[in-house]
């Protein structure tokens, strides 16, 4: 995924997720291996038909147990599957379009978890696109649905629309200004959840936050998405204001911070993932401020995933211990920035 799309100075990516289940089958958590296999076979058949006739492009259907644990972990780091899906491999599968914009987890918490991931602020576009894929699957599979409750899901927190819309936002200026907590508190009051990068319970590394809706029942999909957009617009606005205030009053201090981090990323020999993301955030801000010009935001954004442990190991083609990863991470970052010329 690149770094294009509207508001990409603040919004890294937009994601829509839909939870769906097949009628008359137990949910994955209580289903037997045979039942899970039956669901998987039915879904696989539908996927094949869509690949052949749907005009949806090239996909890959992978059985989780056929993937190495490293490959599974890479999919987690790319946000294409959940950590849970990577752990419980039996009778689980994933269907991913080649450009990774669409992915479907089969037999995760629900029989189907459809996802559309676009760069920048493109929630509406992602929703329209994913609704299309949902229709294509629904044309071939009997979804568990009832008029009163909507799409029926294993967890009652997802029932109704089954829709989770989320934005990954880079908010360094709000954090530096000490305003992030207040903004997130306000978002929580209107039913939005703010988490760190990489989902539930994780800390916000690299000042990257995920903002998503909590409520899935009682509101139509479009309203859920537009509510999230309204909140996101306010967060974007606050972040930009904070950035402008720093640019006006503390320009030299910020510039110094950016170039110190830039220097470290260009020259360090050992980088922990925590330090890499902390420095990354400052260099990314430096690009948005116009201090750092020769780095492309796309190559910077790629580092969010490529410096993660499994992706690093995949790159060198072997298992790495924590220290080796820090060495390899530093090497990858140096290579990414080697032809840049800001000073």
């Amino acid at each position: 995924m690149g770094a294009s799309g509207p508001d990409s100075d603040v919004v890294i990516s937009s994601r829509i997720r839909l939870a769906r289940n097949l009628d008359g089958h137990k949910f994955p958590q209580v289903a037997s291996s045979e039942e899970l296999a039956a669901v998987k076979t039915a879904v696989r058949g539908a996927c094949r038909e869509i690949e052949q006739h749907g005009g949806w492009g090239q996909f890959c259907f992978a059985e989780m147990h056929e993937l190495s644990s490293l490959d599974r972990q890479v999919l987690v780091e790319k946000h294409l599957i959940s950590p849970h899906h990577a752990q419980v491999a039996e009778a689980r599968a994933v269907w991913i379009r080649d450009d990774e914009a669409f992915s479907v987890m089969i037999n995760e918490e629900d029989h189907l978890r459809l996802q559309c991931l676009f760069s920048g602020m493109q929630l509406e576009q992602a929703w329209v696109a994913l609704a299309g894929l949902d229709d294509a699957l629904e044309a071939r599979l009997d979804y568990a649905y009832c008029r009163r409750r909507g799409y029926l899901t294993a967890c009652p927190t997802n029932v109704g629309t089954g829709l989770r819309a989320s934005l990954m936002m880079h908010l360094p200026a709000l954090v530096m200004a000490g305003l992030a907590g207040g903004v997130f508190g306000a978002a929580a009051k209107v039913g939005m959840v703010v988490r760190g990068l990489y989902g539930e319970g994780s800390e916000a590394i690299g000042n990257i936050f995920q903002v998503s809706n909590q409520i899935t029942l009682g509101q139509p999909e479009e309203e859920i998405i537009s509510n999230l957009q309204v909140i996101a617009r306010q967060i974007i606005d606050q972040e930009r204001r904070a950035r402008a205030a720093f640019a006006k009053d503390m320009r030299h201090q910020v510039e110094d911070k950016v170039f110190r981090s830039y220097g470290i990323l260009r020259h360090a020999r050992i980088l922990t993932s925590e330090e890499a993301m902390k420095r990354w955030s400052e260099v990314r801000l430096g690009y948005d401020f116009g201090f750092v010009k020769s780095v492309t935001p796309a190559s910077l954004n790629q580092l969010i995933v490529t410096t993660r442990p499994a992706s690093l190991q995949r790159r060198v083609g072997r298992q790495l211990g924590p220290f080796e990863r820090d060495l390899e991470r530093a090497r990858l970052v140096r290579e990414t920035l080697q032809n840049t010329s800001d000073c």
Partner: protein, 167 residues
Amino acid sequence: MLCDECGQRPASVRITKVVNGQKAEMNLCEECAKVKGEFQLVLGPHVSITNMLSGLFGREPETSRGEIERCELCGMTFADFAKAGRLGCSACYARFEQRLDPVLRRIHGSHEHVGRAPKRLFGHINLKREIEQLRQELDKAVKAEAYETAAVLRDKIRELEKQGQSA
């Protein structure tokens, strides 16, 4: 951080209340949290979503007169959900329909879907479900000798069955 209520003891629990989609949060000490019994969710700083949901289910009244209701498809009881925080299958939603109402209202501030419906299946699946639901209601009405209600329900079922045949 000090307790929002007494302002003296350190806050050890965060209490979240969701009413009609509006969320209110308070940081309280244990003593004050106990007093604030009307809050439905009591969250420590590292409470998992499953525990939180178990709390929601667990506060539901026990099954009437010791009868254990089980879902016909997956065999789960309401108490099982309290432990797992997850439903066993789509049929559980119909089986425990009334008991889910308050749970869903607490989570979402609503218990009824207003969004999109599956295009192909909406017709016959919903018709089937609706007829099943009405039949159950009809049985209850007949048992309770509420014949007027039963007559209305019977007419509705007939109407829906006609729709199903013509579709």
